[in-house]
């Protein structure tokens, strides 16, 4: 998203799909462009812009709007359908209701949720197994019991090609008697003036008149038949958002929330008068819903952060923890954090550990040094090592492969190694893609990927504290690939630099969204920035109470992540223990050594006995675990 408020213009973002174009056609030209700065992007990027306050209003998919929560919509403008829409189809060689598997394009959550609601309703709750794929892969894989959910241009291209197809716009109408809304102009309350709204509404009127021209242009670009596209924009897609569409959308939100597919949401227009606005839920009901395991949206998360007391959050997080882990067991792992080098090229402002290549204090661990450390892990009954370094500009992928094979052969320890940043770094060094790097490392012994380097997955924050580091999307992209390969990973958050409460919620939501897709995150850990000499960032929000609040909110929002760990290494064993009563079910790792945090001045040590004692003193049973959180010892 490049739109930024360089001037007083309204920052507008829109999905760049054909069917949306009539709504914003002309906004990038005079005279509208004097008032509006328009940016077209993918649906996820558009949603990100709103979430991170980079745009004021966005034409965004309705599922993303529900996830964010508390957004207002511009009355009268939407991309929707009343009956057949033609561009959102389930296709198969067998009757659609009898499919066993469904390939889905993961970029469109609204359509996936719609497909699941429709399929469940039509076949009494039965649903095919979903797996993600690109549109072309999806189409190619259709055979027997396997169908595909196809969206956009590809859906128009394959019309009539498959024996069975289900148009989801039509299916929704048949199911509910209501129109469906795919996308609408959304923004935070107060983001638009009445004139701004009128601008968007006028653009729609002009755009609708230019539908044929838009279709013809698209036909020329794509080679699709012009007549088919013209009728698509004229007859299939509907651009209204009135009372009936609102009912249809509200029905979609309600059904999705009941099915646990989206957070609860209310459709609200910018021009709803206060009397007509549904009053926001009380804090108590929000907490009760959270305790009951219901999914909350980002706005509700922000509300908890801003309004709930430490106890409200602690008790709700504890309730969520108990629901997920009813046996009152807190796990810990015997492993060792080994940093293979302190050489790093990123020079993050918050890091006191790294040294540039050639610096007198720069080092790479020798095999002898490693052998001693790993031998100690084995002797202590350890099951894995957490191996991370800096981004060393001269270590090639073969070095890692040899190292991994050697560790596996000599020590048989689990390898929880190389954060996404390092994977990307190796890829750049070798000219390899993420998948290729991960496949080679996996073959050499990599077992799982640590979630370090996530910091705050909001690029505005990342640019300020870690300019040279990967973007949020890159970080998440590595995790996506790793998860699809069957590797598990953890997720982390380091807050307390230049991040705001909203950034932290946004971070958690990005992890939740990816987890919906992959189910690959085993656990979430957070901690605050450890400020000390050697770092070049002033501390922001901090303190122990904030840590407990932050962890509790994460436990409440991350309904799809199994485990939350207390970061005693950064908070100290005392606070780490208290955090077990604020939603954590894991106490992290026994500490042999840890270099990064300790070079910022935080040093704590704790052996297995002390960990178990603290776990029990907090009212839990203790069990050792492996990286997949299987119990290795009976809880006691």
């Amino acid at each position: 998203m490049t739109a930024r408020r360089r001037d007083d213009r309204l920052r507008v973002a829109a999905v760049s799909y054909l069917n949306a174009r009539p709504l914003y056609e002309g906004l990038d030209r005079e005279p509208a462009s004097r008032r509006i700065c328009l940016d077209c992007a993918s649906p996820s990027e558009v949603a990100r812009g709103v979430a991170e306050d980079e745009v004021d209003v966005a034409l965004m998919p309705v599922a993303a709007a529900a996830s964010l929560g508390e957004l207002r919509m511009v009355r009268g403008c939407a991309v929707g359908a009343r009956g057949a829409v033609r561009s959102v189809m389930i296709v198969g060689e067998r009757p659609i209701d009898s499919l066993d598997e469904l390939a889905v394009d993961l970029s469109s959550r609204t359509s996936i949720v719609l497909a699941r609601l429709v399929l469940r309703a039509r076949s009494g709750g039965r649903e095919p197994r979903l797996f993600g794929s690109t549109p072309l892969e999806g189409i190619a894989s259709v055979a027997g019991g396997r169908g595909a959910l196809i969206i956009g241009d590809p859906a128009l291209e394959i019309e009539g090609r498959f024996a069975h197809c289900l148009d989801l716009g039509l299916a929704w109408l048949e199911l509910t008697g209501l129109p469906f809304v795919f996308a609408a102009w959304c923004g935070r309350d107060g983001a638009l003036t009445v004139e701004d709204e009128r601008l968007l509404q006028n653009a729609r009127v002009e755009g609708l008149e230019r539908r044929d021209a838009i279709a013809n242009a698209h036909a020329a670009r794509t080679g699709l038949p012009a007549e088919s596209l013209r009728s698509y924009l004229r007859d299939a897609v509907r651009y209204d958002l009135g009372d009936e569409e609102r009912r249809g959308l509200q029905r979609f939100y309600d059904d999705s929330a009941s099915a646990g597919l989206l957070p609860r949401a209310d459709v609200r227009f910018f021009d709803d008068r206060p009397a007509k606005v549904v009053q926001g839920a009380s804090l108590d009901s929000l907490l009760a819903r959270a305790s009951a395991g219901e999914r909350l949206n980002a706005a509700e998360g922000e509300r908890l952060v801003a309004e709930a007391s430490l106890f409200d959050l602690g008790l709700a997080a504890d309730a969520v923890r108990r629901r997920k882990h009813p046996h009152d067991v807190v796990t810990y792992i015997v492993d060792r954090n080994v940093n293979y080098t302190n050489v790093c090229t990123t020079s993050c402002r918050f890091c006191a550990f790294y040294r540039p290549l050639g610096h007198p204090e720069a080092w790479v661990l020798s095999r002898e040094q490693l052998a001693q450390k790993l031998g100690e892990v084995v002797d202590a009954g350890g099951v894995q090592i957490l191996l991370q370094g800096g981004l060393h500009p001269e270590l090639r992928i073969e070095w890692y492969e040899d190292l991994f094979r050697w560790i596996k052969h000599e020590f048989r320890l689990g390898l929880h190694a190389l954060s996404p940043e390092e994977i990307l770094h190796i890829g750049r060094l070798e000219g390899l893609g993420v998948r290729a790097v991960l496949e080679r490392l996996h073959a050499a012994g990599l077992d799982s990927v640590p979630g370090g380097g996530a910091e705050i997955l909001v690029d505005r924050v990342r640019r300020k504290i870690a300019k040279a580091k990967c973007t949020s999307d890159e970080w998440l992209g590595v995790m996506r690939v790793a998860h699809h390969m069957g590797l598990r990973s953890s997720a982390t958050m380091m807050y307390g630099t230049v991040d705001t409460p909203r950034d932290r919620i946004g971070h958690i939501m990005k992890i939740r969204d990816l987890q919906d897709e992959t189910r690959g995150f085993t656990a979430f850990f957070c901690w605050d920035f450890q400020h000390e000499r050697g770092t070049r960032i002033e501390p922001g929000d901090g303190g122990t109470v904030l840590y407990l609040r932050q962890q509790a909110v994460a436990r409440i929002l991350l309904d799809n992540v199994d485990h939350v760990g207390a970061s005693w290494v950064t908070q100290g064993p005392e606070v780490g223990q208290v955090a077990l009563r604020f939603g954590a079910d894991d106490f992290g790792s026994v500490m042999f050594e840890e270099n990064v945090v300790s070079s910022a001045g935080t040093t704590f040590c704790m052996n297995a006995e002390a960990m178990e004692r603290r776990i029990r003193a907090a009212g839990f049973k203790a069990a050792r675990r492996n990286v997949r959180y299987d119990w290795l010892t009976p809880p006691a």
Binding site: V305, A306, E307, A308, S309, L310, F311, G314, L315, D318, R349, K464, T497, V498, P501, R536, I537, E538, P539, G540, D541, G542, G543, T544, V545, L546, L548, R549, Q571, G572, P573, E574, V575, Q577, V578, L580, R581, F582, A610, R613, R614, A617, A618, G619
Partner: protein, 383 residues
């Protein structure tokens, strides 16, 4: 006794019983117990959270008592590590800090058999000469009892002479655990529970204020803790002279109970909370950061405590027992700890008169920025 029943009692302003106290100590959910204590604390003090500028001085670690939990005392004057300050040495601690002086000096010592009583009188008088308005909070009840027996005076006489020399109030140390089943094992050769309480009673009758403590987390049971708190509540009903109660966590390094684990943070928070709930007649409960670590003390400000104690400057007793806490904190640090907990920091004098009120963090505890950190601006300068 369920938590709900206790909650009903608290809301009806009914006094909690021994069994209630026991139930609170045994309740599995420390957060729920803390919430009750927080209600009581906010009813008494709202968000107001106190600290002061004080300085700890231990003038001698020579001690005739042989308490099992102590890593500080040396039995003989010439034992390794034994040290007794010359008076000038002690006064110098204040003299060198006169450009930013503490408001209170807190002196606690070993029970030294070889010093004349005049040493203590001169000690007090000397500090008052340097800074006439300094508050001298000195000598635990155990020391007062020792002075009385050692120098052949009544408690009243000891206190009177010390007061004339400059003593303003008594600290709460030396209470340990009152119950004889514990006290005879960990502190058999110093003031008994009754003697400790009697010293406080006499001081209160003279119009002096005192604090009280409990050393928990060693060999005592929850029954012993509740018993301890009930005895303090009884005395307070009688005299009303106690200002603050300070739970002190046992630290095991280098003392006669070094094989015991230290109590954990969850126990520390629970003890603060139950103390707040049982001691309904004591105005203040301190989260003594030296004992709990500043981090846990911050949480305790939401579990019933309304006071962080003070700057301390250089604490030695807990450090001798292996505490990780720093030996002193700055005023800025204390203010920040309190603000991050979403409370209003109040610098107080020893009698809880307000010296300065600092701005409270906006809604709610630590959820919003408490400092104007000008993050973006600052970074622009850096980059």
């Amino acid at each position: 006794m369920t938590l709900d029943a206790i909650q009903d009692k608290l809301r009806a302003r009914e006094r909690l019983s021994f069994d209630d106290g026991l139930a609170l100590f045994r309740h599995p959910d420390v957060v729920a117990v803390g919430q009750l204590a927080n209600e009581a604390r906010e009813r008494m003090h709202g968000d107001r959270t106190y600290f002061n500028r004080n300085m700890r001085i231990e003038v001698t670690n020579v001690c005739v008592a042989s308490c099992l939990f102590c890593s500080f005392a040396k039995l003989e004057e010439d034992a390794p590590g034994a040290h007794t300050m010359r008076l000038e040495e002690a006064w110098r601690e204040l003299e060198v800090r006169m450009d930013d002086p503490p408001a209170e000096i807190h002196i606690v010592n070993g029970l030294h058999p070889g010093l004349p009583f005049s040493y203590y009188e001169e000690l007090l008088a000397g500090f008052k000469r340097i800074k006439p308005d300094i508050h001298m909070k000195c000598f635990t009840a155990v020391e007062i009892h020792f002075f009385a027996t050692h120098y052949g005076m009544t408690y009243g006489k000891v206190l009177e002479r010390l007061r004339r020399a400059g003593l303003d109030s008594l600290p709460g140390g030396g209470a340990e655990i009152f119950h004889p089943e514990v006290r005879t094992r960990i502190a058999h050769d110093k003031a008994t529970a009754d003697e400790y309480l009697e010293v406080h009673r006499v001081a209160h009758a003279m119009g002096m204020r005192t604090n009280s403590t409990m050393l928990y987390g060693h060999i005592e049971t929850f029954e012993h803790r509740v018993d301890h708190l009930m005895r303090l509540r009884g005395l307070q009903d009688e005299t009303g002279g106690m200002q603050a109660f300070i739970p002190l966590a046992f630290h095991p390094d280098g003392n006669g109970m070094k094989n015991l684990p230290a109590p954990t943070a969850v126990d520390a928070l629970r003890t603060v909370a139950v103390s707040r709930l049982l001691l309904d007649n004591v105005p203040h409960v301190k989260a003594y950061w030296v004992s709990m670590t500043p981090e846990v003390a911050q949480i305790a400000l939401r579990f019933g405590a309304d006071d962080l104690d003070g700057t301390i400057v250089h604490e030695t007793i807990y450090r001798a027992a292996g505490s990780r806490s720093p030996s002193g904190l700055t005023v800025d640090h204390l203010v920040r700890l309190i603000q991050e907990a979403g409370r209003t920091p109040i610098e107080r004098d020893t009698f809880y008169n307000v010296i300065r009120e600092y701005p409270r963090a906006a809604l709610p505890e630590g959820a919003v920025k408490v400092r104007d950190r000008k993050a973006s601006k600052h970074l622009e300068v850096l980059s």
